[in-house]
Assembly symmetry: C2
Homo-oligomer: 369 residues x 2
């Protein structure tokens, strides 16, 4: 694929690790939360197999953290989500659909309750800070909202557990999925959660001090050899197969969380107050009209730049493909599509116009197995 210069400036920020990534041969970038995110080093496919077998060190500093503190901090966080956070616990992580007053998605962050009255929202790619400020400014809430300078490194892959024990001590092996705690390296406390944007297991390390982060990064690279560790990044193939949704790709501000399959994070029976409650109650009573599903397409090359129509034998639209990639495991294209309700059936056939050819495919469940 053609290469371009990509601007780096104050508006499109580098991370504290960008120069290291370039030393290790990063091959592509995207921009996420006004910051550079690598998309691959040498080969997406090689890195896919490596991630599933060994362990990778990712720079995911783009997962910016919006910190909300103050007397009304719970109230504000709750107003933005349909997930009941009234009994949220410190040291636990919560995957949360953030929704607007129309009940539509604005982001799908991990939320960490760091202390009483101190929440961190680890955001996908949209300016959640501005939605939170819009509410807080209007309602005169007693909160402070700011984007932290925290950078995030992820250690992902089946060998991440052994590697991280070696770096932070055996204690970290007791950390449970979607919990976080504090662990020492080089005399410095690091906040670490057992989480990450892959289905291969691993950790996310939240770093406040850049010098300590650099030491940690270089140490992990140095001792990583015995685990066949490589620098990596979220892998498009692995995340689509694993149905890790990407805000802006698979879903956007025109979709509600039912349509995104996030039903288990919607607590309409609870007496919590959130801005999209009436809209979601209405959506539920009316029944959803479409839903995100997996798809498999009988071809090898795809490069989506917008959603692509899927249609049946009678040219009737059955849905829209939103993310897609060639899967070396299935030896065909796999993707995530918003499918109209009547067609949300596993094995439902469809056609798609790809590179001026009509190609056939079928609907499948998510994750794609």
């Amino acid at each position: 694929m053609k290469k371009f210069e990509i601007s780096k400036n104050r508006r499109v920020r580098v991370t504290p690790y960008t120069s290291r990534l370039e030393k290790y041969g990063v091959g592509g970038y995207t921009v996420y939360n006004h910051m550079l995110l690598p998309t691959h080093f040498k080969s997406l496919e090689e890195e896919y197999f490596h991630l599933k077998k060994d362990v990778q060190l990712w720079d995911v500093s783009v997962q910016k953290q919006i910190e909300v503190t103050g007397t009304d901090s719970y109230k504000l966080v709750q107003l933005m989500t349909c997930r009941d956070l009234s009994s949220a616990k410190i040291l636990k992580c919560y995957y949360v659909p953030l929704i607007d007053g129309n009940g539509n998605m604005i982001n799908d962050p991990l939320i960490l309750k760091v202390e009483d009255m101190k929440w961190r929202i680890c955001i996908a790619d949209s300016d959640v800070l501005l939605y939170a400020k819009g509410i807080a400014d209007s309602m005169k809430l007693r909160v402070k909202i700011h984007e932290t300078n925290i950078s995030t490194l992820a250690v992902q892959g089946p060998k991440s557990f052994e590697l991280m024990s070696k770096v932070f001590g055996e204690n970290i092996s007791k950390l449970k999925f979607f919990n976080f705690n504090y662990y020492k390296f080089g005399g410095v406390d690091f906040m670490i959660s057992k989480s990450g944007f892959s289905k291969q297991g691993g950790y996310e390390i939240y770093i406040q001090d850049t010098a300590s982060g650099h030491k940690l990064y270089d140490y992990i690279i140095k001792i990583g050899g015995e685990f066949n560790l490589k620098p990596g990044c979220p892998n498009a193939i692995e995340r689509i197969e694993g149905a890790l949704l990407s805000y802006g790709n698979d879903m956007d501000n025109n979709d509600n969380p039912f349509e995104c399959g996030l039903d288990k994070y919607i607590n309409l029976e609870s007496n919590i107050e959130f801005l999209g409650k009436k809209a979601l109650q209405k959506a539920k009573s009316e029944g959803i009209k479409r839903k995100l599903m997996g798809v498999k397409i009988n071809d090898k090359n795809i490069y989506l730049t917008k959603e692509e129509k899927l249609f049946d034998d009678k040219q009737k639209t059955i849905g829209f493909l939103r993310s897609a990639v060639y899967s070396p495991r299935f030896k065909m294209i796999v993707g995530i599509a918003m499918i109209n309700r009547d067609y949300c059936k596993v094995s439902q056939k469809f056609k798609i116009n790809l590179n001026n050819k009509i190609i056939s495919g079928s609907v499948c469940s998510l994750p794609i197995n």
Copy 2:
């Protein structure tokens, strides 16, 4: 500079003109409002001189338009800005600092009042939609807010007037600066404003129908030869010299509009209601502590990735450089910096650490002459 693959997908959108830009040899990209914006074709310097002499056709579709309609649409737009829009007129454009409840900048769009109760906010790089929704959802305002599919082409440069008369008819030469109106090409009405992100004069064309936009783009390229028209894009050298501020570079959510030199768009004496009013009244009564100024630096190479400290002979910080580029006109680096109040003097000397060398420079006024 090193080149990379840059991802194009639903989240980082192409524009209707991206394939044309690549055909004409675009050399670099940035991402702006989740969409690709070219940064140069062959040479930033050649394009700088060409823009000041002839005429260029720009794809600035990244200037996304947030449309606010409904009974409370004026109320909502006004709540976000310190500029008095109570007597805003249809067919006029308004450059507007958008601010939050702390009186700090969240964007600096051009606002067009398209009809009574129909406003379009042509945004810089932040999700203004989310701030507007946060307010509207909290206050239960009777508005609809959405991002339009409008794409924007700009025709910029001293020969733009003659060129545009040839395309849209002589009538367009009567359009005044920061006014807009509707002009026909190929039987289709195009909304056009006399505006643009350069100081060389020109127009912005707001395009709803992609096929008509393609016809217009290709026609302008075809007849542009006699004006020495070339495809171009906002030029970093020209915009810094001309003090066209870039949100995210020169200013961000930690700066108020006084500090950004936007005093003439702050109407504190008016009885309009906006969320940052108290904060700006306080800022005014306390006096500002710093201000955006121009700088000249005695060197040729700079590549800022974050703000850089400026200091005096005693190592005391006098401010921070936020945007900078080599200027072939001044034969040195020019930039925009946030300078502490006591040092906001033309010819104030400073030093900066660039590429591990201490370089000297001086403060100047904006625009840089």
